[in-house]
Subunit: 646 residues, 2 copies
């Protein structure tokens, strides 16, 4: 008999060799239908593998990432089987589970080009195969067996993958007529796969290498219930409507130009206005919190980055150094602002009394992302960080952390991100030698972060081994209006750069001491953050962020002159306002301005022109009645004030 | 007899072969002593050259640049004679007159290093030689004669220069024992050189080429009266005190780091604050004047610059293109913002009704200047232009010009630049083929500029042949507090980029039309402009630009707590305030804060702490009496409002 310990702490005895699925069945047949994978002694495994020793056991239901992973990974194999059945001779690359669903990269040969109608065929075939309740069977094989199998089949991608694996670690999974190289885990059978959708096609370089062949990537998703798929497809539709790339174009917020280059956003006037509102808002907060703004160039001599260590890090995969007419002189586009900030710190002497020095900059940095990785504003090659560095004494670390957490939560509140989580990343306690900084400092810094988070009532998860080599960190994730999670700000302790740049301050003992550095961003980057704001609000920015606050809609052309007067008054009061002077019906003007997501519609006709008023309508809320222009100015300014006060 | 026409329009007859000096003597012996060069039929010449035909004649007194030029050029030859007398074997490069004085680049051989005491020797020798009233004698020679002369002397720099000259155009000038290759003109003799100062030493590459030998450059200045030299040296001293590099360091406005790279300014907090005040000020104005702000990256694909033509222009002398992991893909640091702005213009369709589109950006650009050319903030490798482009219809050109001239004059007024001049640069009417754009457009654009300037009562000089190949322009120069001239903003018409980027708008005829583009800056660049502001104000910025508005000076440590309260209140009201809590005497605190150029000193002691007041003192004006904190906030805000209102 073996002892199995469950997450609730209870322990039961089972006969040796029992499977996780059998244990679930013994607990309840219903549970057995709801679990998709198991974690046995910390290792994630198939439900059908036997347990031969005492073990802790976690049974994973749909809610767990591990369950979804097994479910979608199995579905990926199912899709491959369907493809092989429909298109014999297709070669297979990799087919992983992803955050939502799965994909398979395939090589259909040079003749075949997949189209949307093929996706329907594949989907139908998958449904047909799933309904056969095919069992997933695991088999451990030698490297030679694996190579023989896939060589014979002619699957050169698989043999290349096997070539990189170590003998004795290789396993195959088969269901129906399909066998794949795979670590697993998988579902017991295809029975659970009740709802199938093959979603889309894309191109993807083999192994992400632009010099290798472009494969066809097919995305799909599956669920244990049709209702779940239906809900997901509604969600997808909603996400599509909120896609910041689409809304950015519609609202003329930003654009990309092939001549300027991929991943280099051009902020159009309205997008620049949103950006400026966010920057002004944040600058105001920073000022009150004792930050000092600096401005640094977008390049630095390579020596700067040799000192910082970035030169090695941003190597052949990055923007290459910039030569000059001077032999041996090279510059680099800055991938980070910290080296420049260290040099500003070093420009003047510092006393222990003057610390912390909180140095902030909205600094635009340049990082070369593969063209295939670029995505709207969320993955770009130039982005502006709301960056800051706190140079502080070790004894100030906890207070600094608290003040930054405070700032993050304050910002989230104003921006209506009411659901967020935070992750504390600590050292791997078994690998202390790979971290820079003294043992004493690390213990203190990790405690400081944990306790600062606790004092601020921050809900955190703590992960060991995820700290950077130069210090522990705290990352924030927010949940948006349709439940998606986005990583935003980060707070990182750094013991490395103060060493590399030989930063010092004069202590009360009149000796030189090494300050600690904290890197932190709140928004993350302006580009990414605005993308999140667009997707979260579906482009309906809060009033204070809306690039245009109002639009004047004259009922007919007769009132255009009066409308122009109103426009002048509002713009002079710094209320960005548009006017729609077209000779369209008022109903059409109202509908069009809704598409433009302008918060206030100001309708003017005979009565308004006579009384010097405007008829105010708020998008989504309707009529607010007639107002004098001055009163509207006051009203709008009050509304904005309310929005950015907590 | 020949007819000589004078600037006042009068005509007199003289015998053929008379010299300008003789004519001046005939008018009045006093005048003859006051003139230093003559312009004969548009050609600037020695006073002692004979006039053989009817001619127009301008006699140049000290006030004219032409007079100073001849005076200082002659002084440069005199200095060379002194050097040759003192240091035989010295080789001579070039020795031109400059804006203030002259220099000579010499090669003293590898053994000799010049020091400040050598400068005194040279100065004394110059005075001695000058007092001998040596005559400057011109001689036209053949190329061979010239080469023989300097080859024999062993002056390889001169022979190199002669090599580039055309036979028949070569002249020598001799005075005393010294003969130089020179076009002239020169003074009649050294008699007029009454005051001499050899100023300083520097290194300079031969022909400005970093690969050629580094020569010794010796700067000097001379005047016809000792009093003028004395005044100049006082001015120099004053200019030195105002040197923005020195004040920038003292006030911690900006710094340079060898690791980041020469010519790449790092704006420290206080400098960033000044920059931000200027940017916010200008942004506010732009908004009211219908500008739309955009934000663009600091790099662009080389294709962008091939389209714009900048790729050719910024060649081997510039920052070199940036390679990426993608073969054949190259980016460039942007030397100008216009190509990016054209791409934003092209991102959406435009109707004739929507023009002008006034697109503005505070855009940081990168240009590689030779390291020897770099100078503080006035000559840098990265600078932020207050850049804008007006895309307009040809019929809007004049109105746009007027609106920009308006904006420039408005800005100058607020910034207290009450003396300014403007230069209109037109086509060379004899070389029309070298300009792009239709004859009709050029005629119209030149007229528009001239008439817009006239309508705005702008004092201008008109120079033909100085227009850019792509359009005519208007440049502004301001005079600072000690009389120096600085070039600031520029307005340029451009017919070229709209062609190259195929910019179009839909006309009222529903056809595509080509807009005209106007480039314009007001400040020029933030870097250069702040340098000018520092030198103009000697670091005593107007209140609205001062990074710190006030400093609280507690009379003793007893009042530090109260001082901290005041600090909090002022900073919360957005009045950037410092505190001096040192246990120093109040007199010392006051003197120190004067050095820091902080506009208001707020002294707090027993009475103030009791009454909740501060004793206000204004730098340079003294006591303003006791004020409640709130009243001081209102007072400061009013003062700032007054400063930036016209």
């Amino acid at each position: 008999m073996i002892k199995i310990k469950f997450p609730d702490g209870s322990v039961r005895e089972y006969k040796k060799g029992i499977t996780s699925l059998e244990i679930a069945e013994q607990i309840s047949p219903r549970l057995a239908k709801e679990v998709y994978a198991a974690t046995v002694n910390g290792e994630i495994r198939d439900l059908t593998r036997s347990i031969d020793t005492d073990a802790t056991l976690i049974l994973h239901k749909w809610e767990d990432e591990q369950a979804k992973h097994a479910f979608w990974h199995s579905s990926s194999h199912l899709m491959a089987e369907a493809i092989e059945a429909l298109f014999p001779g297709t070669k297979f690359g990799i087919g992983p589970a992803i955050e939502n669903g799965f994909y398979y990269d395939i090589d259909p040969g040079n003749e075949k080009v997949f189209t949307d109608s093929d996706l329907v065929l594949i989907e139908n075939k998958m449904k047909e195969l799933a309904s056969k309740n095919l069992t997933y069977v695991r088999k451990d094989v030698s490297k030679k067996e694996a190579l023989d199998l896939f060589s014979k089949k002619g699957d050169e991608y698989k043999t290349e993958l096997i070539g990189d694996l170590e003998d004795g670690t290789i396993s195959l999974y088969s269901q129906g007529n399909f066998t794949d190289l795979c670590r697993g885990p998988h579902l017991p059978s295809t029975e659970a796969i009740k709802a199938v959708k093959v979603l889309s096609l894309a191109g993807a370089y083999w192994r992400g290498n632009e010099k290798r062949k472009m494969l066809t990537r097919i995305y799909g998703i599956t669920f244990p219930k049709q209702k779940m798929l239906d809900d997901y497809l509604v969600f997808l539709e909603e996400a599509k409507k909120r896609d910041h790339r689409r809304i950015g174009k519609e609202l003329e917020l930003f654009t990309f130009s092939p001549k300027v280059g991929m991943g280099l956003p051009l902020w159009m006037p309205k997008g620049s206005e949103v950006r400026k509102s966010l920057i002004d808002f944040m600058t105001g907060i920073l000022r009150k919190r004792g930050y000092q703004m600096v401005t640094t160039p977008h390049i630095g001599n390579v020596n700067l980055y040799k000192t910082s260590g970035h030169f090695e890090k941003y190597g052949a995969d990055s923007f290459q150094p910039i030569n000059t007419p001077q032999e041996g002189e090279q510059f680099m586009l800055k991938p980070m602002n910290c080296p420049h900030h260290c040099e500003i710190f070093n420009a003047t002497p510092h006393s222990y009394k003057d610390l912390p020095y909180r140095m902030a900059e909205f600094g635009t940095v340049y990082r070369y992302e593969q063209s295939g990785e670029l995505h709207g504003l969320t993955r770009v090659r130039s982005f502006t960080q709301d960056d800051a560095h706190h140079f502080c004494r070790p004894d100030q670390l906890r207070e600094e952390f608290k003040s930054i957490i405070d700032l993050v939560l304050y910002t989230f509140k104003i921006l209506n991100f009411n659901e967020y989580t935070a992750q504390i990343s600590l050292r791997d306690p078994d690998n202390k030698q790979k971290y820079i900084g003294s043992e004493e400092n690390w213990i203190k810094a990790e405690n400081d972060i944990i306790e600062a988070a606790a004092e601020k009532n921050l809900k955190t998860i703590v992960v060991t081994g995820e700290a950077a080599f130069y210090g522990p960190k705290l990352d924030f994730m927010v949940k948006d209006a349709i439940g998606r999670k986005w990583q935003l700000g980060t707070i990182q302790v750094d013991y490395n750069l103060p060493e590399r740049f030989d930063l010092t301050y004069n202590g009360s003992d009149n000796q030189k001491h090494r300050p600690v550095m904290i890197h932190r961003t709140i928004f993350g980057s302006m580009e990414r953050f605005i993308a999140v704001m667009i997707e979260n609000t579906a482009g309906k920015f809060p009033l204070w962020l809306a690039p245009d606050k109002a639009i004047i809609l004259p009922i007919s052309e007769k009132y255009n002159d009066y409308a122009q007067n109103v426009l002048q008054l509002l713009n002079n009061s710094d209320i960005c306002t548009l006017i729609d002077e077209r000779s369209e019906k008022i109903g059409k003007k109202i509908r069009d301005s809704e598409l433009r997501r302008i918060p206030y519609l100001l309708i003017v006709g005979e009565k308004e022109a006579e009384n010097g008023t405007i008829a105010v309508r708020k998008q989504g809320e309707g009529d607010k009645g007639a107002m004098k222009i001055d009163d509207f100015v006051t009203f709008i300014k009050e509304e904005i004030k309310k929005e950015i006060a907590v």
